[in-house]
């Protein structure tokens, strides 16, 4: 295998990894903020990917979905938080896990009811259907676009959390929600905003991934497992850990799919097992 093919595979992996990062960072943020484990996170991703499919059917392009799908996912997240999940804040983690898991089943079954069990393709938007050539490398321009969006999102998120008043409130709520309430801030609103934001990020990942992998009802389940691997390796609540872990498994998956296509997904979990064997607390070394 030539170096060029390897570099191409690695670049592809960066694209996949960035989608995994956007997917996982919402999960890790909601946990960091509220100590809330969301098993419905993959469902947000899946619902949004289906919305992207429907939008591409109606308008002929998936591009508007990049804006609309995250909004829909945010609305879905917000509605489930208000109607169901806020009742579980005082319950043990196990109860939260099971309630959100049930929510994920409801979402998956609803989508199957509307769109059927069979997978569907989502066309790559026309402007990005070509390839970009730089140096000797040929790279599909949609993947380059995905990387660009993901980098922009990551930067914007870092700025929002580290540099804005809202970010300071989020960090404060994560540190001590009760104290924040005593200081006169409504931590419930911060939680709601975080839920909506986390949902929107999962939604963006779903909309970005739809043209690359198509849509099918079980994709939410698969995405949830991937997001778990990312936070197991990167540590819950850690942005840089999530980025590192997501890129690592994205590149692993991409390179393996050239060497051994049948084992590409397997190796994501293989890498996880190997890392855990030597570093039980993950890449960043926190438990």
């Amino acid at each position: 295998m030539s170096a060029q093919v390897l570099i191409f595979g690695a670049l592809n992996g960066v694209g996949i990894g960035m989608i995994y990062f956007i997917l996982s960072v919402g999960l890790t943020m909601i946990f960091g903020l509220m100590q809330f484990v969301n098993f419905a996170h993959g469902a947000f991703y899946m619902v949004s990917a289906y919305a992207a499919f429907a939008i591409a059917q109606w308008t002929g392009s998936v591009l508007p979905a990049l804006l609309i799908s995250p909004l829909l996912a945010a609305a879905f997240a917000l509605a489930s938080e208000r109607l169901l999940l806020q009742r579980t804040y005082s319950l043990p983690h196990e109860a939260q896990i099971l309630i959100t898991f049930a929510l994920a089943i409801l979402a998956q079954e609803s989508v199957t009811m509307i769109f059927g069990t069979l997978g569907k393709n989502v066309p790559v938007p026309e402007i990005f259907s070509g390839v970009v050539i730089f140096g000797g490398f040929v790279y599909p321009s949609y993947r380059l676009f995905v990387v660009g969006i993901a980098v922009a999102v990551a930067l914007a998120m870092w700025l929002a959390i580290e540099r804005t008043r809202f970010g300071a409130m989020v960090r404060a709520a994560a540190e001590n929600a009760e104290m924040m309430g005593l200081l006169g801030f409504d931590s419930r609103k911060v939680f709601m905003a975080a839920f909506a934001f986390g949902g929107a990020l999962a939604g963006l990942a779903g909309a970005l991934a739809a043209p690359l992998r198509g849509v099918e009802p079980l994709m939410g389940r698969e995405a949830l497992a991937i997001a778990f691997v990312v936070v197991i390796l990167g540590g819950l609540g850690s942005f840089s850990g999530a980025l590192l872990a997501a890129l690592l498994i994205g590149i692993t998956q991409s390179l393996m799919s050239m060497i051994w296509p049948g084992g590409a997904h397997l190796m994501i979990y293989g890498v996880m097992t190997m890392i855990l064997a030597f570093r039980p607390t993950g890449l960043m070394g926190r438990s």
Partner: protein, 319 residues
């Protein structure tokens, strides 16, 4: 598990035995009764983990699938008897659970749950990546209906098959009751109530958790082997995450406070699947709603329904 009924054998043991004998008499088909046995035994592994140590596992399907494949390979390619293959499959489940458990029990709480799911997903992709061994998406077929042992008692007789499955299932239930009633079970119980206090008393919580995970893996693998005996076939779905979820849901709906809960949960879930799925393919929605109701209002599952009606629900101990 609740402190009353910690003896073995006790009234619950008798109820389980009666239940297993009555099942084929009440139900319209022997197939459905056998399905319930398989699901109940698999769910029992979740009940053992959650009810005694307080560990939530989204990954028991991994060991279920392993047990299914190992028993199928041993019966078809090595012409083993049903009993020998079942025992070997259960031991294989213990081994895999011990190996995976070494990595899993090092992490606590939420990480533990996520790791069980990740390993279950890994098992699925493993089965998919080696189709020569597992049959891949087509499943592992042509498993002959063998005899129980020494060439005697051919399992081609459906009633005999049920009796054999019921005996295996009863053995698993009795084992779990025995474990819970033992001093070892008391330590597991103390870890569920307060892990750091148990450690302060000198118990190595990780080793006890590892032991519980290992036993639960063996029980789930036993259920997988029973599934193979029942179907003569191992579908790829035997090892997918959905199987893990079904085992967990069955144990939760029934209630993890007693092994009996696994039997009740499995009966309810199998009966629903049998009666609802022909009418409405999306019947899992009903299951999801039932799960929400169970978690929010019936913390002891259907088994605790009577208690809830009598008084206000008590606090969940592992909070």
């Amino acid at each position: 598990m609740t402190t009353e009924g910690l003896r073995f054998p006790n009234g619950t043991t008798v109820v389980i035995a009666v239940f297993l004998i009555a099942l084929p008499c009440i139900l319209p088909s022997l197939t459905l009764a056998s399905e319930i046995l398989v699901l109940a035994t698999g769910a029992l592994s979740c009940t053992l983990l959650l009810g005694s140590v307080g560990l939530l596992s989204f990954g028991q399907g991994l060991y279920f699938g392993l047990g299914a494949y190992v028993s199928a390979i041993l019966i078809r390619d090595f012409e083993m008897s049903a009993l020998a293959a079942t025992i070997a499959a259960s031991l294989a489940g213990c081994l895999l659970a011990a190996a995976a458990g070494l990595l899993i029990v090092r992490r606590q709480g939420v990480y533990f749950v996520m790791l069980t799911l990740a390993f279950a997903q890994m098992g699925f992709f493993l089965a998919l990546a080696f189709p020569r061994l597992t049959g891949g998406e087509n499943g592992f077929g042509n498993v002959p209906r063998t005899a129980i042992a020494f060439g005697q008692f051919a399992l081609s007789n459906p009633l005999l098959l049920y009796v054999f499955l019921a005996i295996l299932s009863f053995a698993a239930f009795a084992l779990v009751q025995r474990i819970v009633a033992s001093p070892f079970g008391s330590v597991l119980n103390s870890i569920r109530y307060n892990e750091s206090r148990s450690e302060a008393l000198g118990y190595d919580a990780r080793r006890f958790k590892l032991a519980a995970v290992t036993m639960a893996g063996g029980i789930a693998a036993l259920a997988g082997a029973m599934n193979t005996l029942m179907l003569n076939f191992v579908p790829l779905s035997a090892i997918d995450v959905e199987t893990s979820e079904r085992l967990l849901i069955a144990s939760l709906i029934g209630g993890v406070g007693s092994p009996l809960g696994a039997l009740i949960g499995a009966s309810v879930l199998s009966a629903m699947s049998d009666f609802l799925s022909p009418i409405w393919p999306r019947w899992s929605m009903v299951v999801a709603l039932l799960l929400i109701v169970t978690v929010l209002f019936l913390r002891d599952g259907l088994l605790g329904l009577g208690g809830v009606l009598r008084r206000q629900g008590k606090e969940m101990p592992n909070g």
